[in-house]
Subunit: 409 residues, 2 copies
């Protein structure tokens, strides 16, 4: 199986001004055509350092793809570095000169003298057309290795990559790779790993991999086989096994969020939802309305930070707050009920807690959160203690509330 | 001058499922304390490959910082790789064991057997406390090189990095580096760069650098000098120049958010605020309540997605909505006024718009947002068109609303 290595070039990547999104894009695209990426080397705009990194990259991969450093300014030195790496001179290509000057003419602009450098390509290499800008890419072969240099501007790079994909497929030959994604909530990474046992072993085919963010565990099933139908079947078999094993911990697939899945369910059922938030301060409403089209099922949200607002807006009896405290099962339930009634919604979420870092007591510690789901059949309230900082308590509480709503639907 | 190299570890980075934001964060932070990053090596979860990349990283830098691979599952092998690189065994540390089991006890959870591995550290290395999760970091010294391994989860990594910054400063030694940070809102990166001209040139001392996130432009002034008082003066001079030049585009310093600055102003003035949101769906309330202690000045928020809710909850006349449309200057003003009256707040924000991607028309395009600030003296409403995707329109609109409130205070 052919492997690729990425070289990301640019001082802005090493000063932290720019996040390298190109590497992830290329890695995902390459994997989807059966070319795994074995490493990424990020380097500044320096000829010798770039040559050094291209050499290292050549040790790890059969295809080396660089992005960045093809602009017209003095700090763009990738084409010089590629020429040095290949041991050849840069040569002026008249057809590139015409393309570049044509680009400026088409945009009613005078071509700056500096752009002439973009018409130079290492001797013996091919130019790759740039449909969105002036910098052509470079494709060269050397000792069985395929070398490709593309611009760093994501739009130009992506357009160019799509253009060369057929050549990459041909170079890579063979192996089909099928990737499936499952999204889980309600169990940690290690609990899930424990449930799956040997399945997550490295080197297994399909490979099962996972990432975690805001309590969401994402499982990836990656199957490789020379025959694409077999790879698809292998992936499907594992996905089915995971679904049986993990049950309702799996809430969705691909890039679905909890809010998205809830949106689909509500839309499908023709039902509506409202929110009454204290500790999460609008975050649950924000997550629900992140989804385009949420206005169809999200009627209204209240952020009732003060006790007065809880009573005035949601009809939570002041006596209840006095007796049990604002952070209590009773108040969470009354908030959910109040929001459901006031908004005339089918479902409502009520949430009250102590996000911290201050405000906690021994009896009611920081991170204590009561979440309530109200619908026509029941009001269900649960108690949680999230031990983390304010931001993490809030996001975990909000996601847990969405997960409770998902299970109620 | 000491230099750093970053090793980003994780199969998810090489499959393209995760964009490596950690490297850019660390690069910017390290630069701000006078430690430039010379390269980033991205590698999968494989002991031998990690060891190889750590060796390469050691050729380029005096400080090697890795992120990722410290989780409890079988594919997390960074601690084994560090031990192998250092030529030592992993040893069980009882105090780490207690911390980790304490984390689970505090969360009322059974500690999974797999998490025991997180209590192991290479012999002779120090553990770095993890305040947001179970994986301790690792700090080791070998032949004059400082090696640090941190978790890949950005929140855990950032918290840990702040914790070790003093040790990094000390290790970097020599040159005094004074770094000042200014936060700007209301002008783009290129506009600010244009206003500053030559000041942002590379190689200048103080170095002026910038990053952009959600419309906030962060300017870093980094002065280096062997004498720390001189470095401080150099930085101060530039900061003063920037303040004069950029005026009220600068809203704060260090890690201040717009919500934080507003919170300080409201607290200082003894004033309160309420929000009435449509297109931002709770995001403004969420941003305001991100700040600990916001319950003192944030009274209440409404998320009135439907027209009915706008009228019923905020008293926006139905005729107004009918005549001008829900997305109009008039409705934004009425929402702000309604929220201020209903909550009994000194200030209120009203916001209505089309976040997209659907719902736009020629007259009212996607990204059109009206933002209104109401107080005892005036109601001021402005029209904006944010050209971006739904998530970006929402965050930009919310931040712009906070910035308008800041200017009104």
């Amino acid at each position: 199986m052919k492997k690729a290595t990425i070289v990301s070039i640019g001082n802005e990547l090493l000063s932290g001004r720019t996040v390298d999104t190109n590497a992830a894009y290329l890695a995902a695209q390459l994997l989807s055509i059966g070319i795994p990426v074995t490493g990424v080397y990020t380097v500044g705009d320096d000829i010798d350092l770039i040559v050094h990194k291209i050499r290292l990259a050549g040790d790890d991969g059969d295809i080396i793809i660089s992005t960045g450093g093809l602009g017209p300014t003095d700090d763009d030195v990738t084409r010089q570095a590629v020429a040095k790496f290949l041991g050849v001179e840069l040569v002026l290509r008249n057809e590139l000169m015409n393309q570049i000057s044509g680009y400026f003419t088409a945009h009613n602009l005078q071509m700056p003298a500096k752009n002439i450098i973009q018409a130079y390509i290492p001797a013996g290499a091919e130019a790759i057309e740039n449909q969105c800008g002036t910098a052509p890419g470079i494709m060269a072969r050397s000792n069985g290795t395929l070398y490709i240099a593309m611009p760093g501007v994501p739009t130009e790079m992506k357009e160019m990559f799509i253009h060369i994909t057929p050549q990459l497929r041909e170079f890579a030959g063979g192996q089909a790779v099928i990737s499936k994604t499952l999204k889980c909530f309600g169990a940690g990474e290690s609990v899930i790993a424990g449930m799956l046992g040997d399945m997550m072993q490295r080197g297994r085919n399909p490979l099962i991999n996972c990432t975690v963010e805001n309590g969401v565990v994402t499982l990836y099933v990656i199957a490789s086989h020379k025959d694409s139908e077999t790879a698809e079947q292998m992936a499907q078999t594992d996905v089915q096994f995971l679904k049986n094993k993990l049950g309702d911990i799996i809430y969705g697939h691909d890039r679905q969020t909890l809010a998205e899945v809830i949106g689909e369910k509500l839309t499908h059922l023709g039902k509506t939802v409202a929110t009454a938030e204290s500790c999460t301060g609008g975050l649950i409403a924000k997550l629900i309305t992140d989804i385009s089209g949420s206005s169809k099922y999200f009627l209204q949200g209240w952020v009732t930070y003060s006790n007065k607002a809880k009573s005035a807006q949601l009809g939570v009896p002041a006596e209840l707050i006095e007796k049990y405290g604002a952070v209590s099962e009773q108040v969470a339930s009354a908030m959910a009920k109040g929001a459901r009634d006031m908004a005339g919604a089918d479902y409502a979420i009520g949430i009250t807690g102590i996000a911290g870092p201050t405000g906690g007591t021994e009896e009611k510690p920081t991170g204590l959160v009561y979440i309530s789901i109200a619908c026509d059949k029941f009001i269900k309230t649960e108690r949680f203690v999230f031990r983390s900082d304010r931001a993490a308590v809030r996001i975990r509480a909000a996601q847990t509330a969405l997960n409770m709503l998902r299970k109620a639907l």
